[in-house]
Symmetry: D2
Subunit: 144 residues, 4 copies
């Protein structure tokens, strides 16, 4: 049996528009939110590219942060005050100047902390991720 997600893509997008202007500015496109997992696309755009043609590191970390947030809300529903406490990013390959997909899943949802991982890759190259993030969020103790 699979649990249903506790937030819809449309609800999450509304939340981002209100609460995450930095992320919204990046033009992120939420593809899917499940119970403890999510997929979000970072589209190519001039302002996140480095000359020579590669995607900037902060843009990829912003993508990963958004994927984690979506995966958490997909599992515990819309809560106030879920905040990132740690984010560790390994940059693995120089990305091509094209769309980047971020796919994340939670490794743990405890009473106070949620931990997950996000892989990022260019389309069709899931086996050769350009970056990998693990991140921890503090979540409200009464989230259940």
């Amino acid at each position: 049996m699979t649990n249903s997600p506790r937030i819809t893509v449309a609800e999450f997008e509304d939340l981002c528009a209100e609460q995450l202007p930095f992320v919204a500015m990046m033009g992120l496109q939420v593809q899917d939110i499940g119970y403890g997992n999510a997929r979000i696309l970072l589209p190519t755009s001039e302002n996140i590219l480095r000359p020579g043609g590669t995607v900037s590191g902060p843009a990829m970390m912003g993508l990963a942060d958004a994927v984690m947030y979506a995966a958490i809300l997909g599992q515990i529903g819309r809560v106030e005050q879920a905040v990132t406490t740690n984010l560790n990013c390994n940059f693995l390959r120089r990305p091509k100047p094209t769309d980047i997909m971020g796919v994340g899943k939670l490794l743990k949802v405890g009473r106070r902390l949620a931990v997950g991982e996000v892989s990022m890759f260019t389309m069709g190259e899931e086996d050769a991720p350009v970056a990998h993030v693990t991140a921890t969020y503090a979540i409200p103790p009464d989230h259940q």
Copy 2:
């Protein structure tokens, strides 16, 4: 004896304008670059604030990445192809919606990797950092 920095603030700003549009977009103000250290200010601006009034995580990671880059070029001079390989950020306190200063120093410059740390804080509160980053850059083997 103290070594002189091998890149000036003006040279670094030119480099950012060319190479780091994402960072430039954040309006970063380089305060100082030394031999293996740097200080950069992230000014308050609408587009990096989260409602409720706090600075977004990706903006602080972008600040830290820029501080590290400046500290490295301050020590090894302008090189092509210094790229971040790992960035680990601990978010420590909810920042007030005000300017954030990032202060970084290198812990090591080896033949192929440079590692450093960056503390971020609001003005006048150096003892209570809002975030702390350690990061690794791959640098060209012939940088010496």
Copy 3:
């Protein structure tokens, strides 16, 4: 097509006996080494347990380090001078005082750096890992 591992379990165990006394002291049991992946068991033993009955953090980080090393040598063969440059561990659940399995795979093998991840869990509970590590190794540039 799957590539064959470039080191056997027996060869890796000999290497550990020579080079990694700390790891050998933990009584690690290598289960399997593939091309870029590995499985190693950390058996229950008095000296790694914390009273109250849980496995110590350093023992799990030692396990993860060994799994990564095995996965790397499984892909590039026995090389001198593969050394850990970064290890990030998220401790997810309090482990029971029982055997811990570490399962790892590489995310990238570049010219100079290899990056991978290791999940650790008690037997039969793969879906609820007790810890998760990402780690980077510096590898010799002429490893190919």
Copy 4:
């Protein structure tokens, strides 16, 4: 004004003998515990050396974990259930086969999380650390 430490070296050593057999096994020598900081020595010993003469990574991570634990108890007093949730280690230089000193201080003590950093170096070489750790501990909400 400086706050007094809330645990003594002797009390901390008793606690380690009871609760941290792995750490005790390493022969750690607690030098000093202050309010939110600590210094611990990892003495040279056969079983933590790698042939060729260097100190093993897991031993240094165990040292850092102990330093953090001492620094936390130095600030909040002896509590049950302070547990590591994240430890990130950058290995900076190949250590000589000699004693390693670990010096740590807290970056934050919140209601539920404490975060700190630990530098490790061989005696007389504080400016050239062999490793650097940041770590997070979950602490009891009623610790104040």
